[in-house]
């Protein structure tokens, strides 16, 4: 199949393998954790149609299941968003953070944690524990819209302006966050630190009910961008000559990534590396064709995040490590290894 330069069979085979792996890892994630009850046998019993204890039921359905689904969706969203951003910026090192979502979300979270207490009690009661994720989502989305407005003149969005203005805006948001952190007390500081390290431990069906559909919709819409992103690799003009409405493509990509990363960051905090490492690894295996790269990235991103989450809750059980730390400890060296091994491909 390689002989003709057509890597689609290879890609389809890889995607099938990833689907299989995803199912296995999801089962793994349901049954492994700090609880010492034998959940594997409970799950088996359940599949046989037998009844299981109330404790196993609660752990399986109310703790592990939403956490597994959340990990799956967050991982898939971050990896697909990374692949889309890299296609849009025509650069394998682009990251969803480039459109300001992450820094805006960070500022939103800090604001909620430090001065959220000043909100009227009635409002606080009605949104309950969702104050931080809601603020993070609004912050990320707001920052992205500002950036998009800045970079768009006469109906044309300049990715170069977006990149540079994004740096400036991120630095500004970080400075505002720093200012708030300066005035925070010790317990707020602790909350902030843990938000920044990332975690999906708090996943529940109620948070999933809001965040899940939003991430799912963006994941399902992402493949529509594939052929446009492929042609964009030839440059904006050549893509336009091939019939791509480049401005519409840019707008769709930015909104889609803003939505899915905004939600993902809101529910899980700052989890890095998935968005860069997963698409990069897949490009080495199946090539850069977005038709296959996007679905494969969704699958591998989900697998990577669920694995990192399994590690984060088993390594120092019964305590938990923040998933962001696990991801960075594994992801950093692995990314370096990939870079050094495939140096020649980077120089192409």
């Amino acid at each position: 199949m390689q002989a003709t330069g057509d890597r689609s069979l290879q890609a389809k085979f890889t995607i099938s393998l990833l689907m299989l792996a995803l199912c296995l890892v999801a089962l793994f994630s349901l049954t492994i954790g700090s609880s010492n009850t034998s959940l594997a046998s409970s799950l088996w019993a359940l599949m046989q149609g037998e009844a299981i204890g109330i404790q196993e039921q609660v752990i399986l359905f109310d703790i592990r299941a939403p956490r597994t689904v959340m990990g799956l969706l967050v991982g898939a969203s971050l990896a697909v968003s990374g692949a889309i951003m890299q296609g849009l910026f025509r650069n394998p090192l682009a990251d969803p953070g480039l459109i300001g979502v992450s820094s805006g979300a960070g500022l939103g979270a800090v604001t909620a944690i430090v001065i959220g207490g000043l909100l009227p009690i009635s409002l606080l009661n009605s949104i309950g524990g969702f104050l931080v994720p809601i603020a993070a989502f609004l912050g990320g989305w707001g920052c992205m819209l500002i950036l998009y407005k800045i970079a768009t003149r006469q109906g044309r969005t300049s990715v170069a302006v977006m990149l540079l203005a994004g740096l400036a805006l991120s630095a500004f948001a970080a400075a505002l966050s720093g200012l708030l952190i300066y005035y925070s007390n010790d317990s707020q500081l602790r909350n902030l630190t843990f938000w920044n390290l990332g975690s999906i431990a708090g996943a529940s069906w109620s948070s999933l009910k809001v965040a899940g559909p939003l991430m799912l919709i963006s994941l399902l819409l992402a493949p529509l961008l594939a052929s446009g992103l492929n042609r964009l690799a030839l440059g904006e003009a050549a893509a336009m000559h091939l019939g791509v409405s480049v401005q519409r493509l840019k707008r769709a990509a930015i909104l889609l990534v803003g939505l899915s990363v905004g939600v993902a960051v809101a529910v899980s905090g700052a989890i890095g590396f998935v968005g860069i490492i997963v698409p990069h690894l897949l490009r080495l295996v199946i090539g850069p064709n977005h038709r296959y790269l996007l679905p494969a990235a969704a699958l591998l991103g989900a697998i990577a995040l669920m694995l990192a989450d399994i590690l984060s809750r088993t390594l120092i059980a019964p305590a938990e490590l923040p998933i962001g730390i696990v991801m960075a400890i594994l992801g950093g060296p692995f990314f370096l290894y990939l870079l050094l091994r495939n140096r020649n491909l980077l120089d192409l």
Binding site: Q2, A3, T4, G5, D6, R7, G87, R90, N91, P92, N230, R231, L232, A233, L234, G235, A237, A238, M240, H241, L242, G243, V244, S245, R283, G287, P288, N289, L345, L348
Partner: protein
């Protein structure tokens, strides 16, 4: 037929093209010639619907501005001077991007047409400049494979298609463009090499400082006066003894 009337293009208050009346007919190969910065590429970009312009461009009787990207993509293909590819696609994958009709055999046929059969699985970024240019030519051939569909001509717009090629491949590529025109398609071609332009064109449009100096047959355009005016350098037009084809030589610099 592609016709422009009073076509002007300006970037940042600088007029790059002014009041150009240009025409190209199906079945013909029209060359655009002139010195650097005379507006050749700008004309091609305006004709491809890529930049804003004043005046009129008629594309087969329709106003160019009224046609969508998708419609235009099926009617004309553009070969840029150079293409920077962002990711390591294979040659086949690059050509495949233009396969709007999804005919699986087309990319292979097109690569064969430009003499690159066997290159399908090579990485585009590993190729030489000339090979890359021919891959891009194969890509645009796939985009508008048939010169004529339902009695309407398709168009190839080529921006210096032979600039990075050796003599043999120059002739091959120009012959390919000529064949496309002979089969009823239209070809518009920015050319630096006046001799190749003379050899293959039905008409040459000579530009100077954003103005169209003259558009006519090669014999009428390639005169000592026209060329010396356009290029601001004494140029002598001679004729080959056997076929009486015009060929152009600049007066050499004095070396004493």
């Amino acid at each position: 037929m592609i016709i422009t009337k009073d076509l002007s293009v300006g970037f940042h208050q600088t007029e790059v093209l002014s009041k150009v009346d240009f025409r190209a007919e199906p079945g013909q190969l029209v060359s655009i010639a002139g010195p650097n910065g005379s507006g050749k590429t700008t004309l091609l970009r305006a004709l491809s619907g890529e930049i804003d312009y004043r005046g009129e461009i008629h594309f087969d009787g329709e106003n160019l501005a009224d046609l969508s990207h998708q419609t235009l993509a099926k009617r004309r293909a553009i070969l840029p001077q150079a293409t920077q590819l962002a990711f390591p696609f294979t040659v086949l994958e690059v050509v495949q991007m233009a396969n709007l009709d999804r005919r699986s055999e087309r990319p292979f046929q097109a690569l064969q047409r430009v003499g690159l059969e066997g290159f399908e699985s090579r990485f585009y970024q590993e190729l030489s400049g000339g090979e890359k240019q021919r891959v891009q030519l194969a890509r645009i051939l796939v985009q508008v494979w048939q010169p004529v569909i339902d009695g309407k001509a398709n168009w190839l717009l080529l921006d210096e298609p032979v600039s990075s090629l050796d003599i043999g491949h120059q002739i091959e590529v120009m012959q390919l463009a000529r064949d496309y025109a002979n089969a009823g398609g239209g070809v518009i071609c920015v050319m630096h090499d006046l001799n190749l332009a003379a050899m293959f064109s039905d008409s040459i449009a000579l530009f100077e400082k954003g103005r169209l100096l003259i558009q006519d047959s090669p014999d009428a355009v390639l005169t000592d006066d026209n060329l010396s005016t356009a290029y601001q350098w004494p140029v002598r037009v001679n004729r080959t003894p056997s076929e009486s084809m015009p060929f152009v030589l600049p007066q050499t610099a004095k070396r004493d």
